[in-house]
Amino acid sequence: MDFNDTPQEATFRAEVQNWLTANVPTEAELTGLDYIGRAKLWQKKKHDAGWACIRWPKAHGGRDASAIEQVIFNQEEAKFDTPAGIFAIGQGMCAPTMMTWATEEQNRRFMPPMASGEEVWCQLFSEPAGGSDLAALRTKGVKDGDDWIVNGQKIWTSGAHYSDFGVLVLRTDPEAPKHQGLTYFFLDMKSPGIEIKPIRQISGGANFNEVYFTDVRIPDAQRLGNVGQGWQVALTTLMNERASIGGGGGGVNFDSVFELAQSVDLGERPAIEDPSVRRKLADWYVQEAGLKFTGYRSMTALSKGEIPGPENSIGKLVGAPKQQDMASFALDLLEQAGVIWDEKLSERAGLFQATYMASPGLRIAGGTDEIMANIIAERVLGMPQDIRVDKGIPFSEVPTASS
């Protein structure tokens, strides 16, 4: 057991470090650009030098790199303050789906500009009535000659407003059982009939959108998989979703609460000297360390060319409620001042307040705590599904709130 790279990995890491050191954009290069412009500039630079989407085939704009090389690249890039990605969903979820289900010709057309950041992609699955039950989607696709005509509404679409293309799942046969009446497409987000409205969150952000479709036409050539096979195609996308969501950087963590406890008093002494604070901090440290070392085990598997075990599925389930409880605890340490949410007045520019307000979203996005626990029970422990009343009957007959 050791924490060292293999000689090959070390060589690769050095190469990455050298390139990044020389090429990470300076503030001067980025001046005047908004976050989209900044992200695109950096992505283009990476792509031009062969460092974008390195696991992809060269023919699709990648580098044919291994999984561990991708991990090493990410680790090294994370050491710099590079413009944050607006490409995660496209490159992380849409691309694997395209590469599995689209024609080679389509992939040669669409993957390189996705890799270079010139074209941004989004994912249109969720619907208002769906929630955790993704396959309950109702946005309709009706065949019309060589096209499909789309009507309905999607929700929780990140980046819809700056995306060039999107992948979406439609209900093409309401009389088939729920999972069998779906078909999967990709589409041009500039198509006529698409209306995009941002969703304001309680955290103040608006990272998601509602997307309305009115008689939008999608060419049948942009179908992925067969008609009625949409759920299987969607599973390719979803399997890649959990990987790309994760605990996320940012937010409150052990270090920030530990340091806060050093700087504020509880009773007559610094909070860090209070055993009740110390015990809570110990528990959070142990959780973070446990996740970190579980991640190391997965990386080891990647490094050996193996597929990691199911251990990493616990990340979001542990991380999201932990952020909420740590933020709440930190606000309590601040006492009355805990409610002040002001970049200038608040400790760490409002990090604890922002996390308190954002963490309920973390517990929901990409699968609620409850769904994550189901997934661990079913896929990791091999326990059976709950009783399903929506299987094997026509979707139109599945009970809904309105029925």
């Binding site: 969720s126 208002p128 009535a129 929630g131 955790s132 039950d133 309950a136 929700i155 929780w156 969703i199 304001r200 969150q201 309680i202 955290s203 700087s263 504020v264 008093d265 509880l266 009773g267 007559e268 909070a271 209070d274 009740s276 909420q324 709440s328 606000l331 309590d332 340490l333 601040l334 006492e335 009355q336 001042a337 805990g338 409610v339 002040i340 949410w341 002001d342 007045l345 400790e347 307040q353 308190y356 307000m357 309920p360 979203g361 517990r363 929901i364 996005a365 609620t368 705590d369 409850e370 626990a373 709950d386 399903r388 009343v389 929506d390 599945v398 009970p399 809904t400 709130a401």
Partner: protein, 370 residues
């Protein structure tokens, strides 16, 4: 054994509920949250007209001379509807401070106006991040003036006067300060819960008069906290019930995988846990109300128990209400944010969970040592 509200008190509750249902729907909270107003002025006037600000003020000062049981009922109902009002600051804190420590002259000067809603008060205690202790007080009282900065002061931007906690040559004091004077500068500060307003107040030699004896301010403050804690706890329990009910209603109507999410044990047990916490908190609030209304020696234990239980119940119900709603609960458009924000505000406003857990055990030790 008669451990229940009386028929008259229950009637008051019914009146309050139907009044607030009409006058303080979620939209009223949203209007303050989204807008520039510090509080709902029209609702405040109606609340004043109902006599709620006069509840426990003695009749000789134009009050209703009712008990803290009536005020508990009102507190719970205001908490239930998340009322965007400076009620807790003015009634549970400022009015209480004067009732407890004011001279006859001070009472005569302020209580009738408080009863009539002609003025509003607030408590200016916090000065900085973390736990305030007597030794750390940097706001200073001397020769009839106050100098220092208080931050944040709940409702400090709209109050007419403040009860200021300050140090002095004789030790800690409580001082009454008219906020509408040149020596007081107020600045609104942004908070987690914009449906309740907060200010930073800078006192620059503002004229002030002592409330109670010089040097006894810290003890007075602790007694004030104990009394207010019971009323805060009732507001918190009311809010926790609202959060639980919102979650339940949504779960009954929301379907996933062909069935209401209310049929899933993950949801049922979550809401059962919220019910348990709310019920435990309510039980403790009953004892708190009894101790407050009878000025019992058990008040320190009763207040701390109610406060700790209510903080825990409200946090749990508020966060799991959002979780039960899923993504919709995280949108600005939904009302789940109200109890989530308010629960934190009420949790830290007169000292957080840790402080009250400590007070509780200290009070139990004192009780057993006696």
């Amino acid at each position: 054994m008669n451990f229940e509200f009386s028929d008259e008190q229950n009637m008051l509750r019914e009146q309050a509920q139907s009044f607030l249902k009409a006058e303080c729907p979620p939209q009223a909270v949203r209007t303050v949250l989204d807008g520039d107003a510090a509080f709902d002025q029209s609702l405040w006037q109606k609340v004043v007209d109902m006599g709620w600000t006069a509840t426990v003020i003695p009749e000789q000062y134009d009050g209703l001379g009712l008990t803290y049981l009536e005020l508990s009922v009102i507190a719970e109902e205001l908490g239930r509807c998340l009322a965007p009002l400076p009620f807790s600051s003015s009634v549970y804190l400022a009015t209480e401070a004067i009732l407890a420590a004011g001279s006859d002259a001070q009472k005569a000067a302020w209580l009738p106006k408080l009863a009539a809603g002609a003025v509003m008060g607030c408590l200016a205690d916090s000065e900085a991040n973390g736990h305030l202790t007597a030794a750390k007080l940097s706001t200073r009282y001397a020769d009839g003036t106050i100098t220092g900065v208080k931050l944040p002061v709940a409702d400090g931007d709209v109050a007419d006067f403040a009860v200021v906690v300050a140090s002095s040559a004789a030790g800690p004091v409580l001082a009454l300060v008219d906020l509408n004077q040149p020596g007081c500068q107020r600045q609104v500060v942004s908070t987690l819960d914009p449906s309740r307003s907060h200010a930073a107040i800078t006192f620059d030699g503002a004229s002030a008069e002592l409330l109670g004896e010089a040097g006894s301010g810290w003890i007075q403050l602790q007694q004030l906290y104990n009394r207010a804690a019971v009323l805060f706890a009732w507001e918190q329990v009311g809010g926790a019930d609202t959060a639980l009910n919102m979650a339940k209603e949504y779960a009954l109507g929301r379907f996933a995988f062909g069935r209401p999410i209310a049929t899933y044990q993950a949801i049922k047990h979550k809401l059962a846990a919220a019910y348990v916490k709310n019920t435990l908190a309510r039980g403790n609030c009953y004892f708190g109300a009894w101790a407050l209304s009878t000025n019992a020696s058990e008040l320190p234990v009763a207040a701390a128990s109610a406060r700790v239980a209510a903080i825990q119940a409200y946090y749990y119900a508020a966060k799991e209400n959002i979780q039960t709603h899923g993504g919709m609960g995280f949108t600005w458009e939904f009302d789940c944010q109200f109890p989530y924000r308010r629960s934190k505000l009420l949790s830290v406003n007169i000292g957080s969970e840790a402080i009250w857990q400590e007070k509780l055990i200290s009070a139990i030790e004192a009780q057993r040592a006696a």
